[in-house]
């Protein structure tokens, strides 16, 4: 995975991490303030649902607090936190799929919406792209966000999502084709 954020394991953040590990919630709040925007952006793009994204953001930070001792500083804190966040989102999606199967019987691509994005702004701007990403089928959206937005490699996406590398590439191809069609 390519992490676009420079390593932050140092300086004030290192102190915050050490203090949080000792149980200091104020120190953990500093970490929350520094990273909540990026964690929320990731949750929002992966879930495509504002209320769910906020719930997942909370869950990610609660899990980060619980598992902070597993952060050893061999990668940037942001990288560790984003991987943990993706796991939280995947756990949520698996639970959701299980629930759907028992109730409304939607298939894995049940949230696919093959319609044009809203045209509240000039065609092809980044707001349009955000709207179009929300409308992608779940698998295509997940791979597009992780690969093209977050910079992950297909093998890591495949390992985390429990899919084949070829499936990840197929999802990305479909996502990019749909986005180009919608935004052209």
């Amino acid at each position: 995975m390519t992490d676009p954020t420079p390593s932050r394991w140092g300086g004030g953040e290192a102190e915050s991490i050490r203090a949080a590990l000792a149980g200091d919630r104020r120190a953990f709040e500093a970490l929350y303030r520094a990273h909540s925007g990026r964690v929320h952006a990731l949750c929002l793009r992966l879930s495509s649902h504002a209320a769910t994204a906020e719930e997942l953001t909370q869950e990610a930070f609660v899990r980060a607090w619980q598992r902070l001792a597993t952060f050893r500083g061999d990668s940037a804190f942001a990288t560790w936190l984003h991987r943990l966040t993706v796991n939280v989102v995947f756990d949520h999606q698996r639970a959701q799929r299980s629930w759907y199967r028992r109730t409304v019987s939607l298939d894995d691509e049940g949230d696919a919406v093959d319609v044009l994005p809203d045209r509240g702004s000039a065609p092809g701007d980044r707001h349009d792209l955000e709207a179009a990403i929300r409308r992608l089928p779940r698998g295509a959206r997940t791979v597009f966000v992780l690969h093209d937005v977050e910079g992950w490699q297909h093998d890591e996406i495949a390992a985390r999502a429990g899919i084949a590398v070829g499936t990840s590439k197929a999802h990305l191809h479909r996502a990019r084709s749909l986005l180009k069609e919608w935004l052209s």
Partner: protein, 170 residues
């Protein structure tokens, strides 16, 4: 700018903001949750509670058709309300009976959590009025009910329900 080429799509993607702040400050919710480590009741109590809860919720769900059709989100929510309402009443009654004996700091934490959950339930119901067919909101409602029960169960003995155990039943 159109995105009808790979280069144009890449350029648009590169312009996406890396950070999007939530619509509200989520820290108080995170803080309330990490401030309340949940002591567990003795295992035999939880096992008994889980059995009772599974029977209770299972009995409620027996009348629920399998493979619910398109309007299932509304039906599922009605089932949730029917299943959780008596459990919530019993849990809150049990909590109120013991609240005075709790450590004041723990009591403040619990009641902060319960107040947050109460507001969340109100917000979910408002959202469901706007969009009653939203299946995801139904799922959030279920998890919120479970969180409320889990908090009370953590601080009251003879807990009748372990939400972790009946989670799979709904």
């Amino acid at each position: 700018m159109n995105a009808n080429s790979d280069e144009a799509l890449d350029a648009l993607t590169a312009r996406l903001p890396r950070s999007i702040e939530p619509s509200r400050d989520l820290w108080p919710y995170v803080d309330a949750r990490i401030a309340s480590p949940t002591p567990r009741a003795p295992l035999w109590q939880l096992a008994l509670a889980a059995g009772i809860a599974a029977l209770f919720v299972g009995a409620l769900l027996l009348g629920m058709p399998r493979g619910i059709p398109a309007d299932s989100a509304v039906a599922y929510r009605q089932q949730l309300d029917a299943a959780f309402s008596p459990l919530r009443q019993a849990s809150l009654t049990r909590y109120r009976a013991r609240a005075d004996r709790l450590d004041p700091a723990l009591r403040r934490t619990v009641e902060t959590n319960l107040a947050i959950i109460d507001r969340a339930l109100a917000e979910i119901r408002v959202a469901l009025e706007r969009d009653p067919d939203d299946a995801e909101l139904g799922q959030i409602l279920k998890r919120t009910y479970e969180q409320e029960l889990a908090i009370i169960d953590a601080v009251t003995p003879n807990a009748p329900v372990d939400p972790q155990q009946y989670r799979g039943a709904l």
